[in-house]
Symmetry: C3
Subunit: 345 residues, 3 copies
Amino acid sequence: MNFFEDFQVGRVFRHAIPRTLTSGDAAAYIALTGARQPLHCAEPLARALGYPACPLDDFLVFNMAFGKTVPDISYNAIANLGYADVRFRAPVYAGDTLACESTVIGVKENSSGRSGVVYVHSSARNQERREVLSWNRWVMVAKHGSQPAPSPVIPKLPTEVPPAEIAVAPFLRPGALASEASGGQRLWDDYRPGEVLDHPGGMTIEEADHMSATRLFQNTARIHFDAFAARDNPFGKRLVYGGHVISLCRSLSHDGLENAFAVAAIHGGTHANPTFAGDTLYCRHVVTSRDELPGRADVVALRLRMLGVKNEALARLPAVPVGDKHPALVLDLDYSVLIPRRQRP
Amino acid sequence: MNFFEDFQVGRVFRHAIPRTLTSGDAAAYIALTGARQPLHCAEPLARALGYPACPLDDFLVFNMAFGKTVPDISYNAIANLGYADVRFRAPVYAGDTLACESTVIGVKENSSGRSGVVYVHSSARNQERREVLSWNRWVMVAKHGSQPAPSPVIPKLPTEVPPAEIAVAPFLRPGALASEASGGQRLWDDYRPGEVLDHPGGMTIEEADHMSATRLFQNTARIHFDAFAARDNPFGKRLVYGGHVISLCRSLSHDGLENAFAVAAIHGGTHANPTFAGDTLYCRHVVTSRDELPGRADVVALRLRMLGVKNEALARLPAVPVGDKHPALVLDLDYSVLIPRRQRP
Amino acid sequence: MNFFEDFQVGRVFRHAIPRTLTSGDAAAYIALTGARQPLHCAEPLARALGYPACPLDDFLVFNMAFGKTVPDISYNAIANLGYADVRFRAPVYAGDTLACESTVIGVKENSSGRSGVVYVHSSARNQERREVLSWNRWVMVAKHGSQPAPSPVIPKLPTEVPPAEIAVAPFLRPGALASEASGGQRLWDDYRPGEVLDHPGGMTIEEADHMSATRLFQNTARIHFDAFAARDNPFGKRLVYGGHVISLCRSLSHDGLENAFAVAAIHGGTHANPTFAGDTLYCRHVVTSRDELPGRADVVALRLRMLGVKNEALARLPAVPVGDKHPALVLDLDYSVLIPRRQRP
């Protein structure tokens, strides 16, 4: 239960409660988000692609790892401000155990003197101590007392994960991803930078749904769970955990990005507006660039801007770019997915 | 995302996203439906009955397979009109992967010219390509444009699965189903055609519950999930997926049909009225007939009419037959279960 | 579906529907309760402590076993009045199958002549017939007819499980419970009788959440599920199953009791007031005593009073003892946990 004063640059937190992920978590994740990427739910396909078993959904892993950091980093967070340099480094399987740690890499007190921004670099490792995920985020955290402000340290965070540093499993055989399995024909070659994809589905969020997802991730930030205390927050109610919004947008986007079988990196992103129970989420993607990966002619990265929108038909949204300040915008994520490249005969 | 025009008789859809079912799915299914049939949750009993492990609940399998067909067949469905000739052909176990396909077997445009009825035959196979389930259904689907109506083709669908064609696992030892395990004494011999069973429980449906179940099945029909868009549908709100209603009725009916350990076939059925969150479901069964199965003296089929009723005490319902148009009736299913026969000493 | 008249002292119920517990149940339990005790979710830690695998959460086991008894004992219960002499005798693992039985040990008709109190001793065994849990409870059950009252039999129930009778697995190596894994530094030596722990979290309960948890436990008591029928009960709505309240309080109490890795016994307890959807739960613990266990210098019992409180900030509660009649009090449980003792160098 740390406050702003507790974060000194260089301090390392070894987060408690390592978590063994299971097929039970995978099923609960599908029930709570509607995830449908076939790599994560079709064992024969996963094996055909070279994996020893279905790897767990990338955002299930991300949210589980993120959840581990909450009691130390963001239990008292006022807002989760942004992400940078998020790298999905290795697949995670049912039976793997994740343990996480974070290092404080920056602090800056707000001018109000009542809170400050904390920058952390976090990392998740499996039971063999292999790093499977690393990420940076910054959060606004309340001050506890009235100590003088520390010297501000604002880290230089990269604005992207360079394509050359994107991890691809050496065993991967992307050609095995048949359109029959994924439901879509479009490969990397078929997307054009600037193209806008308005995904057809919508998902209304209930209190029970977002709380169950956030509990599954063992994320304890009280703003998501305590309606009685939330009467006193600026919104007067519980907020939906931002990671659940990301998961829902990923699920909605399957129709249109059927062959984007894995998430490779998040270059940056913000939760533009809060999401509440009762809101209906929609997802638009904008194709940003197509990036070749060194040493792989068969799999490539597609860089995308994921826009999460609430309570507004996508057709009524302004053309790209949606202003960051559009009141319907709840998520704006700059990320890259892996997708097969069409094989030349 | 097909419209009425996209369905030509003979067209085959190989549905995307095969699904590996797990013990996590079984647990989520119990949490969402209250399923209690002991064959599906008591491993020693399943082994005593001859199974290598607990087979998954029949309606979990049905709903999972059905869900696979939705993106191609009924994403734009206005209503799911009926079922016929549904056969549960082989048990499905945790670890099995289901892949489904459908063939269009009939089309008939409605007189309005704005929609039509599509008839499909669907089939689910496991990873060894063994057919585990097959079914026919017909749905009302919106037209996209104003093309002229195709010649109507209305398939002749059987009105029953004949008892001689009901699948029984050759290894089955039904005598192992002790009343201690199931909670009930009544076997096939104890039910009488015409008998009415009013099951005591009731289940109120919440939005989060039916959406979680429908997401678990990876059924994406938007009418179940999108409250914002649903403001414009005739009901002004989300509808509960009919397969979830079937699952709930099956669960409620355990008290009274304790030894009906497996579902053998659905001869026909309709969703008589829509179900919404907030509705409370009750279930009545009417015994239709007792059917012997060729070559088995120990296990027999009980044919039943499953009536799902909402927001009305069963005791206040009119005597059988409930008129199909009774406003409280939401489900009317003609099906057969397997149940042991009393062994003569 | 028994009524008060059906309970004769000495009658034994072998409860139906044995249940094989799985990692899917464990995941659903985490999603529904937010459970975080690391012994139950971190496989490497469980092995370091000497377990062959993660044992299932003690209150998951308790609620599953309890659920088995409901159809025979408390389907028609008006109120679940209390617990005594609850013993957690052996760990339960994914794959184990629980079967339960109960013996009537007391009856006492109420002066109204319309209901009575039934006392039962219940027991859960695994597939090897090893007893893993035993407990006593008493419930108020409706009378069916107007038979004369039976002679009252009120059993003498112990007011505590003596420390010498608390089960500790012989293989247990409690020293392996590092504060890094649990998130807390405090061991048995650091708690003082009389000490009050106000746990920081709060959890608002939704209808979908408590119903899903109660369905997961296959507890069928209709008061939790049937809003239509509940219009006629004294509260006019569904009640939350008391075992779910216990689970939530255990989860909330992780912050402050991080190393209380297992529940050893419940000496007694009552559900002081009903809980409904919409209520927000908080948890206070009062340390009662520190009990050494025979033959173990490394692990000891901490006896605690668990107070579940709703819709009231703990800081505004009166000092200990909270009067049993405080309207915000919903749970008052006298129980003991296992916790490592600091090793002397």
